[in-house]
Symmetry: C2
Subunit: 899 residues, 2 copies
């Protein structure tokens, strides 16, 4: 077994393909070396060694010799000798896991500096201050990382060795009356080093080792040990990185960008990571170390002239300062990008006029840049369209589809509170506290933000009028969140810091109070609430050829159809413009909250006999017919799945005594009878109560009216030359006889309407699969169903026994302690809910091999869930209009991930 992989001087034992063994960093260093790119020589100790070390707390036989041999190779390349007092080689010891875990593990730099090598290096470099500074840094890192952390010492709060050493440094600066570290002289640093060493001995009981090899092995131990450090373990839990992967250790010759004016350091991207423009982009600092660029103490210089801004125009670019080296760097970056066929994030150091590449890796980018790069690289012939499709994270599309707060304004803004990011995008407006106020202010031309403890269906008109919605309660699938997401409206929910007094019309956060008419701004993508009116930036989708092109490619790849959840013609048209080909869920209940209709609805509910109930229900027919006409037309000839009435009837009834009195007068029903009826409808667990098809079975006239409205609208459309295609969906079916009962009514009405009107039309009758029992008995249910649509929201509720409205009391702790990996209402629980779904698909198709099966829960717009649905063999997903492009992309990526 080979434990150590060398690289240097154009030759490397490993390559980019060895990431599992060498970690990402080590594999890329090897690859760059082989490409002939100047990389400081070094070697990588494999992840296998980490595993052995973790298991046995000791290294395998032969490792020591292999390390020594590899070190000798480095010495040969560098012409230096490790631990040599005349011409010492210094090395860095860094971690490098298969997957990047930024900042989670430890690093020791400048390893190899001892009392004797320090002197040698001073002589050789002629720069005493530089050498003592490097020594000071080594001692600090070593004491912290190797002696304290890897030694398992747990200091009291604020008494970590690093903090104590930093205090001494600060004290020295005070004593010397200087501001900056760089103002300390070599003598100061030398004195400081003496103080450091004493402090380490007295505090940690161990001497700082004055032996290069001891330092090296200490560093290696510490890096391996840090794999099981608290931070790293937590990070792995969150990112689902297996413990057994382990980390590699990279030992590499030190190069210094801070040895003088012919030195420099910098970080760069092969293309602009914010815009995607194909322009070498980066920052550098003369006479500095890498950490100085990142730390942000000094404003870094622009890498080249094209990078200059008004802000940085006065600073010398590397292109200007070191044109030859810049040209060399530019050639290297171009080679790296072409080699890796993706935008690279690189680090470099210039030591005494010589360029060294320290790292290359795939660069992070925002949504706009990801899109542009993906499409550009196809145009440039660098990648094919499938690769382009796989390069953009679906959620990155979200960034470019919504109005956003201008990042500059946001940076300067005053953050008030943070809640759950329920509806992405940005919004700004004047605070209002009621739906009616929102509507009135809007009609006066004002922009408003509706602020409520929580919203209910009665607030719909105000939510629609508002630029953004902010609630103190509720989760990601609360009423406000669902409605806002459907409209693509900016929305933040569950913002517990808010203290809302709707009566007094005040909003208090901490000690500050805001009233009606005060401006606030919301970043719904992050869940952040700002004071005041911040500037917004509009998306420019139409002209975004990158967006259109990428999704066109995605459409060519994907197998899943994408539909939308939409309740209005406007939403249907919007979703269609985003690429939806059909409606997977048209809820019919929101239609009833319109003031014109709610009275008939309530009359229906409080009726105490079939005749009155039927009469009241039939009052709703013309309204529903008009609704369905519009929505079927907007989506024709694509299918529209219309779900029959689902929520429990009490949701439609007034709640306050005043409203009940009013209703009593309007319906001419005595108040006590009305109260009794309302009380009678009260349920302890409405989620598990009298709703879904149970309503249609109890009150067949509701089903009849809805079926008639759908089919009369269908006939009207046909006679108007359209090609509507309705799919009637029976909700909350748990046993086949429920479906059969409702289907009989729907088919009878369809027959009647066809005979009455003399038109034939096509339609389907199917069911929502949203109860565990429906999954388990899907073979029977399929015998009566023409399609299945999984309602994964409710299926998640019943499978887990979680109420969406009530999980706030324990879910945060569940996620924090990793009892659950994810919120199952956000991304489908593949193991539990998903297993039931798969069972339902399998059993359904046992009965009907070609049964059309889709999903219409919120998960239909979640990329991870879409991958699962693809694998489960569904025919389509349906999601809110603004998630449609995301779903199209995710569906394509699901296909690509199969290869």
């Amino acid at each position: 077994m080979k434990y150590v992989y060398s690289f240097g001087a154009g030759k490397a034992d490993g390559s980019a393909g060895d990431k599992n063994l060498l970690g990402g960093k080590g594999a890329n260093l090897a690859e760059m070396t082989s490409l002939g790119i100047p990389v400081p020589p070094g070697f990588t100790i494999t992840t296998d060694v980490c595993t052995i070390f973790m298991q046995n707390r000791s290294y395998p036989d032969g490792l020591e010799k292999a390390v020594k041999d590899a070190l000798h190779k480095m010495e040969t390349v560098m012409g230096q000798k490790f631990g040599d007092s005349k011409n010492p080689l210094l090395v860095s010891v860094r971690s490098g896991a298969r997957q990047s875990m930024p900042g989670m593990m430890e690093t020791v730099l400048n390893v190899g500096l001892t009392e004797s090598t320090v002197q040698g290096l001073i002589k050789k470099s002629g720069n005493e201050r530089f050498v003592y500074d490097a020594y000071r840094r080594l001692i600090t890192m070593y004491a912290d990382v190797v002696i304290e952390k890897a030694g398992g010492i747990e200091p009291a709060e604020g008494e970590g060795i690093r903090e104590l050493l930093e205090k001494e440094l600060a004290q020295m600066k005070t004593d010397r009356k200087v501001e900056s570290d760089t103002d300390l002289s070599a003598a100061d640093l030398k004195q400081l080093i003496t103080i450091y060493k004493k402090l380490i001995k007295s505090r940690l009981g161990v001497e700082f080792p004055d032996d290069a090899y001891a330092q090296l092995w200490g560093g290696i131990d510490a890096v391996f040990t840090s794999w099981n450090g608290k931070r790293a373990v937590n990070y792995r839990r969150i990112e689902n990185i297996p413990d057994e992967w382990g980390t590699a250790v990279n030992v590499q010759a030190m190069v210094f960008g801070n040895m003088g004016d012919d030195c420099a350091t910098g970080v760069a991207f092969t293309r602009n990571p914010a815009t995607g423009e194909n322009q070498f982009y980066g920052e550098w600092l003369p006479n500095a170390q890498g950490e100085d660029v990142v730390a942000g103490i000094r404003t870094p210089n622009p890498l080249n002239n094209a990078n200059k801004t008004a802000h940085t125009a006065h600073l010398a670019s590397l292109e200007e300062a070191m044109p030859g080296l810049y040209a060399e760097l530019d050639a290297i970056q171009e080679r790296l990008e072409k080699h890796y066929r993706d935008m690279q994030d690189i680090e470099f150091t210039i030591q005494e006029g010589r360029l060294w590449m320290l790292q290359t890796r795939t660069g992070k980018r925002n949504g706009t840049a990801a899109l542009r790069m993906a499409v550009d690289m196809v145009d440039e012939g660098m990648i094919d369209s499938s690769t382009a499709v796989s390069r953009v994270a679906p959620d990155q599309l979200d960034e470019i589809m919504h109005t956003m707060i201008d990042p500059k304004a946001e940076k300067a803004g005053k953050l008030l509170a943070t809640g759950l990011p329920a509806g992405p995008g940005g919004g700004t407006g004047q605070i209002v506290f009621t739906a009616d106020d929102a509507e009135r202010w809007k009609s006066e031309g004002k922009a408003v933000v509706l602020v409520r403890a929580e919203t209910s269906p009665e607030d719909i008109h105000g939510m629609h009028a508002a630029e953004a919605i902010l609630t103190a309660k509720g989760g990601m699938t609360s009423h406000a969140a669902l409605v806002a997401r459907g409209w693509g409206k900016c929305c933040i929910v569950g913002c517990a810091e808010l203290n809302i007094n709707a009566g007094k019309k005040t909003l208090t956060v901490g000690k500050e109070t805001y009233g009606e008419g005060d401006w606030i701004s919301l970043n719904g993508t992050k869940g952040e609430v700002y004071a005041g009116q911040l500037d917004l930036i509009d998306p420019d989708l139409e002209s975004n050829r990158y967006f259109t092109q990428l999704l066109k490619w995605a459409d060519e790849i994907r197998r899943l159809d994408v539909r939308t959840n939409a309740d209005t013609p406007a939403d249907a048209a919007l979703a269609r413009s985003f690429g939806a080909r059909g409606i997977g869920l048209c809820r019919t209940e929101h239609m009833f909250f319109d003031p014109q209709r709610i009275l008939a609805m309530r009359k229906m509910i409080v009726a105490d006999n079939d005749t009155d109930r039927r009469a009241a229900v039939m009052e709703l027919l013309p309204f529903q017919k008009a609704d369905f006409y519009g929505i079927l037309k907007a989506m024709a000839p694509n299918p529209v799945t219309i779900r029959l009435l689902d929520p429990p009837l009490h949701e439609f009834l007034p709640q306050t005594p005043a409203q009940i009195t009013e209703l009593s007068l309007m319906l001419q029903i005595p108040e006590d009878i009305l109260h009794k009826r309302i009380d009678g409808l009260h349920e302890l667990n409405p989620m598990l109560g009298h709703r879904g098809c149970r309503l249609g079975i109890s009150y067949p006239e509701i089903t009849e009216m809805q079926a008639r409205a759908i089919f009369e609208a269908t006939v009207d459309l046909i006679s108007d030359g359209e090609k509507p295609f309705p799919e009637v969906m029976i909700p909350l079916v748990g046993s086949v006889r429920e479906l059969a009962d409702q289907k009989t009514i729907v088919n009878r009405v369809a027959q009647e309407v066809q005979e009455e009107r003399g038109y034939r039309f096509d339609y389907l009758v199917g069911t929502m699969i949203e109860l565990p029992r429906a999954c388990v008995t899907a073979d029977e249910i399929a015998s009566e169903a023409q399609f299945f649509s999984f309602g994964t929201n409710d299926l998640t509720q019943t499978t887990f026994g979680f109420s969406r409205d009530d999980i706030g009391s324990f879910l945060p702790k569940y996620l924090k302690e990793r009892i659950l990996a994810n919120d199952p209402f956000q991304s489908i629980d593949q193991q539990g809910v998903g297993a039931l779904l798969k069972l339902g698909v399998q059993k359904g198709r046992e009965t009907k091999a070609n049964l059309k099966i889709g999903v219409c829960g919120e998960h239909g717009g979640d990329p991870a869930s879409i991958h699962f649905f693809h694998k489960a063999g569904l025919d389509y997903v349906s999601c809110s209009p603004y998630r449609v492009p995301i779903a199209r992309l995710a569906a394509a990526q699901a296909v690509l991930s199969e290869n």
Copy 2:
């Protein structure tokens, strides 16, 4: 294919084994004939013919000839001729299905009487009145059954032909100024017949056929047609009898018990069906027809002297009146019982001094009789003990385990209302309307019935004090029902006719009002509420050797263990006396409602920091420890499964403003803060909310305290020389990490207690499987569980998406329209919930082949469900104490039914 099976004169084509083909009646007539028992000759048309007739509305070729041939055989045996004007044979035409469907299908008697045969029969019998009466009866039955019903005529309400004919009969009696039918003369009857025939022609448009064969085929048609009559179809739905079974038709020579004083008729049982005593038991009437005995117009005579009571001592027994024939009958009944090896229900007729047996079938019996007969027959060597065990329906044990209202008193009582039979047995007491009153009155030595709209955990003490409980709301698994059943207490719930005014302390039913202190009596087995104080009969279990013996045999047969659900030492002891070997569910929450404890509980709930919460929780430790000491001791060395705290915390909080004010003072917490905390705990769907293990994860100190109480009690018991065996059950687990989290705490505490006290003890940690996700991921959960206990109540709720508390609004319609075959909370839904259970068992045992698995939902005491659990391979069922014997018997029958 043979369509017609003859029997008569000691020879029969069929036998008792041909029930599927000949129906129960036909098969037994054939069997009796073959045994040499005098049976009037006849023939049976097979059920196959019924199927053909239903499909084609016509008979198969050859049937007509076969019927004629069979009729000729009858003629030969009887020495009479069908349709002959001199010596006519009369026949009956009766249905006879595979399974008895009493009264659901049609019969025509006296077939073969025409104008000419009537004259022949008069001459032959010399009894004109008898013949015209028989003719009148034939015409009535024929018009009703053959012409009207089988003809598909649907008369208006009250205008059925039978009713119209009865009116004419009544009119004739009025005209003749006589009271009874028998007072009408032959001439009167003759006149009536003329009226009848005219009325039939004018009303139904058809002549009554004056042809024997036409009558016979009309009768056969009508019986087959009645298989698909409304009543029969509904009955089959309810009893789950397949439509395709069909009925046979039995045509048999008429014999008459009403031709004179040498005639008689009777029904009898080979043993007493009420007591089980081995004593020939029955009733007879001289000169009467079978229907007269059943109709109850005349008081029937006792069959023999042993049957005589004070009431019937003056009536001549058959033994006295016709000693020879009685001896013959007695010999036959003995033969029949021995032949069938079971108690027989027989019908006989004596015509002109000759005994004819008309029917034998297995006799129905009550619980007491079933038990005694089963055991006696084993003692007599008639059957083996397995057969005895299979002879008693588990629910029949219920009858003999509870105090009952004396049937005589009940018969005379005044029925006020009917509700759901939630707790079997009888109870009587004075009405009280609050739990506190119940307790106080009881302490004054009074017997009370607690009457409430519904009960809550706060009523426990009053429910315990009451003789019986009556509620207006709630279903079979409501709080009142569950608690009462656990205690074996008489209880009626969901008695919607009651109008309870708790404020005024009145109970109104219809127009009658009862107040506090008024007596009422409840039959909880039937759900009937009576006015006044009715006499009760106590069960006498201890001395019931039949009960003990039968269950001993059952125990030898069954594979399932039987445990009990019990929360107190008293319940545990009771259940143990009923044969429970362990506790399958000990709920710990009921213990918290005790006034001494509830305050600490509430303190814990409203605590806003961990320190206060822990302090409050620990106040509960001594109480819980004492509870567990008692219950573990009562069941030692059998296992006791203790479920950790399960219900949502808000159930423990006060509800009314006054109670909140009181609590605020006691806890010295400002009222507004208390209100806020209570509001914060409010949940929209508490069933799916913050409960079960979610509590223990949020508040680990609760788990810790409960574990400590259990283990300290365990150690105390060991040091007292007992052998306790606790099993700690984590409720509402949906994913393995929940279980792992709680198990860690329990195991840590177990370790601590063992170290502190220096004792080792055994215990298990397992989980309740009551969520669909737990079933689907049972393989993972099993890796952390030492046992599974299915909580089928909650599993039913989540699988169906039904809330037990809320199904009242639609379940009745579901059952009525057969959308569901049964209330799934009463008997497990094998197809849906059961499929998930089986999946859970299979997956659990994939991980741990010997995993102990039980069930602790209410279904554990339901015989049909127990059969299912047996087949699913569970190790035990657990049920309320009074269901334990039922479960033992059902478990044995499950084994027997496998053969």
